[in-house]
Symmetry: C2
Subunit: 184 residues, 2 copies
């Protein structure tokens, strides 16, 4: 019944996600998206009434996906050494959030709010992971979990940002960053 509509909406959100992650919210038009999906712009607006709503839905989807993914990582492993690679890979593969964060102030209200929520979720997960790792003595004891969460997010999302011009190599996130990050 409503099956075909749902499928169509998923197709739209998938194409929308790709465009958003490539050129950002203001980098493409609803007509561009309609062409990508293969329908008219009027049909597109039938499924997703405004551009704001469309982008919001995409971000919401990504937020759900990431929350589930991070929860799964937390449930699958207890130790940080095994959580780390999957976690960093997940965040490094997520270019959407990095691109939208870049234009945050220019985003329409709903989409902007949803993105802030996504960011807040991520910081929450990362802080929790760091806290546990410190308690388990798998991280230095004098580390602040919040600072580490911010740094991890910056590193992974920065890599995502530059992934189009310099693909993250196998050794990228494995380098010993002590000389970069540790104080004198």
């Amino acid at each position: 019944m409503a099956q075909r509509k749902n499928i169509a909406r998923d197709d739209i959100l998938l194409s929308a996600h790709a465009l958003l992650a490539n050129v950002g919210f203001h980098g493409f038009s609803m007509r561009d998206l309609a062409d990508e999906v293969g329908i008219s712009s009027a049909s597109l607006h039938h499924h997703t009434p405004t551009k704001d709503e469309m982008a919001t839905a995409v971000v919401q989807r990504e937020r759900d996906r990431l929350n589930k993914r991070l929860a799964s990582i937390g449930a699958e492993h207890e130790d940080w050494p095994r959580r780390r690679p999957e976690l960093m890979q997940s965040l490094t593969e997520t270019r959407l959030t990095a691109v939208l964060m870049a234009e945050l102030a220019g985003l329409p209200p709903k989409c902007q709010a949803e993105l802030r929520l996504l960011h807040s979720n991520l910081i929450g997960w990362l802080t929790r992971f760091a806290t546990e790792a410190i308690r388990r003595q798998e991280m230095p004891q004098n580390t602040e979990p919040e600072a580490l969460a911010g740094t991890m997010l910056a590193l992974a999302q920065g890599a995502a940002l530059y992934s189009t011009v310099a693909p993250v190599g196998p050794t990228w996130l494995l380098a010993d960053l002590r000389p970069v990050t540790s104080a004198l």
Copy 2:
């Protein structure tokens, strides 16, 4: 004679830089910029004929500024422990490049080319710094300079990207990232 014009163009590029770094290339209009500067959009186009040219000029300026800054850091100190903080701070304070990299594929041709050049310059500097630090035995000997350059850029620019929502704290880039980056 041409003095007032140059001053005006600098005013324009300064306001343009702020807008570009805040909401990205497609996040504002030439009218917005004209309003910001305090002139009509026609006057704006008198100084900078196209939006592409305007953004290109801003990126070019930033490229010059960064090249001089990094050269100065390299000349001022010889050792990596003293180069590191100034270097990372310079890159973390540069939000413009991070925002524009996000929409790279959607940028007009000249601006896109100029941005790629800026990125290439940065990687060049970072790779050189890393190479020297390794030779001076201030970094682990088994590190690949290119990988480290990419990672440093990702970390700093990621921090720049998220600086609007979570200002980089004093401990941020000082954390020991071994648990994040080093392999199992």
